[in-house]
């Protein structure tokens, strides 16, 4: 029997959707009776989140649920998967998965020695204890923790001041007043109970600026060592995990809104007009930067924006 190691950074067995995806993968593969077992290591109990990529490339780690942008230092193209305003909502995210944009990204992934087992796009939000964040104007002067460099560039363009810290310190940052606002995934906003400190939440809704690609990946080396039946079983299991995710994706944002309204936090949403203003800033900051830094960067962004 072959045992594969699967790692991720979220709490295990607590209902986190990414943990659940990996667990489903493990269950499905076990049920397929192909002499294959997946041992799950949740909550960074094996690798630090950012070290998972290198470990997969070298074949030391077999499977990971991995926020792709974490490897953008090695493959700058990956920044496009945490780029403000490229996704907008969950329906568009699933259309994006089969677009030429994602074909390009997946080619980079494969060339690096990693294969994709299941796609997932997670939405994120903004929260503030100073002023609701809707238009770029509302961001001015707020000390903000942003998730991802492309977001930092755009927020600075809107007049925010950036303080960098891990998402686990956002709560204390807001509480002590080091931070006025924060931007991270919907899941982290709930699990770190930021609602106890924030006064206003900008929910993802129809015009979400923040989306991040967090697929389940597998080391090409480990993949090549499997026999055909095992590979088929893994692909089938990946499909099941992906379908589960699609069913849950919107529910995640509902959970976020519920947690914050129950805590008495004001919940707002960006209007189409706000969103366009942000896009205009992103074009001048993050997109421009990306196009300059990455070969074919402008093309990638155009391909993503071209998706219906």
């Amino acid at each position: 029997e072959t045992t594969l190691k699967a790692s991720h950074q979220w709490p295990g067995g607590k209902g986190d959707v990414r943990d659940e995806m990996v667990q489903i993968l493990a269950r499905e593969v076990a049920n397929a009776n192909v002499d294959l077992k997946i041992q799950v290591y949740p909550g960074k109990s094996l690798f630090k989140p950012r070290e998972q990529w290198g470990a997969m490339v070298k074949g030391v780690l077999d499977i990971a649920a991995f926020p792709l942008d974490y490897a953008s230092g090695r493959h700058p193209e990956f920044s496009a998967t945490l780029m403000p305003g490229l996704v907008r909502n969950h329906d568009r995210a699933s259309r994006l998965n089969t677009s030429p944009f994602m074909d390009d990204i997946k080619k980079v992934i494969n060339d690096a020695g990693v294969v994709v087992l299941a796609d997932a796009w997670l939405a994120g939000a903004f929260a503030s204890k100073k002023q609701c964040i809707t238009s770029p104007e509302s961001m001015k002067g707020q000390v903000t923790r942003a998730a991802g460099p492309a977001f930092e560039q755009m927020l600075v363009g809107a007049g925010a001041s950036i303080a960098s810290m891990p998402s686990s310190e956002i709560y204390t940052g807001l509480q002590t007043g080091v931070l006025d606002a924060a931007n991270t995934s919907s899941g982290s906003f709930v699990s770190y109970r930021i609602y106890e400190q924030a006064t206003c939440l900008t929910k993802p809704g129809a015009n979400a600026l923040w989306f991040m690609y967090e697929p389940i990946l597998m080391s090409k080396r480990s993949w090549d060592e499997l026999n055909e039946d095992q590979q088929k079983a893994l692909l089938a299991a990946g499909k099941v995990a992906e379908e589960y995710f699609l069913g849950e994706a919107k529910g995640l944002d509902d959970k976020l809104v519920e947690a914050y309204s129950n805590a008495g936090v004001e919940v707002v949403e960006m209007s189409g007009d706000d969103y366009d203003q942000w896009l205009a800033i992103a074009k001048e900051t993050s997109y421009k930067n990306f196009a300059e830094k990455v070969d074919g960067g402008q093309e990638l962004i155009d391909k993503a924006l071209a998706v219906e």
Partner: protein, 438 residues
């Protein structure tokens, strides 16, 4: 081979390497590599560098050298002497007054330094010779400083709390607050024992002949005030929304350096290099242990040993206080052999889920863990404070230091019991200032 059995083999290999005197960091690293090579083959070597580097490259850890530097900057100046002398003018009529002053000075100094050895050195360098000169037995003089120095990691700022916070994703600011009242409690316990012991043995009463007027007492304060100002300043920076703990540490270090340079005129190159040199030695030693612990934890987790131990403890299904007693014995045992940082990095991932499952508060547990680590600092074979005392008072034997420390170790055990009876000693202040914990 079952994971628990593999774990035992690794433990024995580690103890053997430690026994022949391999530095702790390299013993941890070597055992990890050897185990990985045997189980996973040569491929596992490829991630060695990235794992070690990744274990160190964290903004939270930045505060460690900074908080050590704060301490060694002040320790390199005569400020420690000023501190206990100022206290002595107020306490000299109490039995064991000079010892009390030294313990009090350790406690105040602990608020300036994140490290225990630095606290020991700062006060003990002048304090121990002064105590022996005034007729206190070697064991009381050295034992009180060894124990007083351990307050360095309980009273904020604290390196062990920082490492615990990073390992368990708990708030470092909140951990600091949790340690404050227990720190005062231990100080009080140490002092109470000292008064009792000195009165019982009739020592330290000779100082009674020396009397200070109120005027003299107040005259000694101005030299101490700048340091109290820095303590208050750091608390303000930490809890007033100016900066994160790492940033506060950097600013605090800069202020401490400026202060000793200005007040004690320590601007010669030798003196400035001196304070940096002590900092380099202690922080590099700690950081290398952190990097190696990262490898060790990876090895244990990848072989499913960590998870199996956790499952095994969880399956014991005992009363939560019995569980807490077992955990304490285990921590004490680990503390005999390993320095605090290594123990925390290796055990926190195993213990925290169990602690939470049993309904204990993670911040309260951090304090209990820290007091266990304090005991480890003054017990052989690896007790960092013992080395420091040995360095600053070479004429006092290890046996004397140990004899002198034992009563204070018992004080710490009493402290742990009090914390179990009244958990609020640790949790009340953070809840008052920061609301309920997550």
């Amino acid at each position: 081979m079952s994971p628990l059995f593999t774990g035992l083999l690794i433990l024995f290999a580690l103890l053997a390497l430690l026994g022949i005197g391999t530095p702790i960091a390299f013993a941890l690293g070597f055992v990890s590599i050897a185990a990985l090579l045997i189980v996973d083959g040569a491929g596992s070597l490829s991630i060695l560098g990235e794992t070690f580097f990744g274990g160190l490259a964290s903004f939270g850890l930045v505060s460690i050298p900074m908080f050590i530097l704060m301490g060694s900057a002040v320790a390199s100046s005569p400020a420690g002497k000023d501190l206990y002398e100022a206290l002595d003018r107020w306490l000299n009529r109490v039995p064991g007054g000079l010892v009390l002053s030294n313990i009090g000075a350790c406690s105040i100094f602990a608020a300036l330094s994140g490290s225990s050895p630095a606290t020991c050195a700062a006060i003990g360098k002048m304090g121990i010779p002064e105590m022996t000169k005034r007729g206190y037995p070697n064991e009381i003089a050295s034992g009180s400083i060894a124990a007083g120095g351990t307050l360095g990691i309980l009273i904020p700022p604290s390196i062990t709390m920082i490492v615990y916070g990073i390992a368990t994703e708990t708030s470092i600011g909140r951990l600091f607050l949790a340690g404050l009242l227990p720190g005062f409690m231990l100080t009080a316990l140490f002092m109470a024992w000292t008064i009792y012991d000195c009165r019982r043995r009739g020592i330290g009463l000779s100082a009674l002949t020396e009397r200070f007027t109120m005027k003299e007492r107040f005259a000694a304060l101005p030299r101490v005030l700048p340091f109290l100002a820095i303590i208050v300043g750091i608390l303000y920076v930490l809890y007033g929304g100016v900066a994160t703990p790492s940033e506060a540490a950097g600013v605090g270090a800069l202020f401490c350096i400026i202060l000793v340079v200005v007040i004690y005129r320590m601007w010669s190159v030798t003196k400035v290099t001196g304070m940096f040199r002590d900092t380099l030695k202690e922080s590099v030693m700690i950081m290398m242990i952190i990097g190696a612990s990262e490898l060790f934890s990876y090895t244990l987790s990848s072989m499913f040993i960590t998870q199996s131990i956790a499952e095994w403890i969880a399956a014991l299904d005992v009363n939560r206080w019995v569980l807490m007693a077992i955990i304490n014995c285990f921590l004490l045992f680990a503390g005999f052999f390993l320095p605090p940082v290594a123990v925390i990095l290796m055990t926190a991932p195993i213990l925290l889920p169990i602690i939470l499952q049993a309904g204990f508060d993670p911040y309260w547990f951090a304090v209990v863990l820290t007091i266990n680590m304090e005991i480890g600092l003054i017990t052989p074979p690896v007790g960092l404070n013992l080395y420091v005392i040995n360095g600053i008072a070479p004429n006092i034997t290890l046996a004397e230091i140990l004899r002198g420390s034992i009563p204070y170790v018992l004080c710490m055990v009493v402290g742990i019991i009090l914390l179990c009876l009244v958990p609020g000693i640790a949790t009340w202040l953070p809840e008052l200032m920061m609301g309920k914990a997550l």
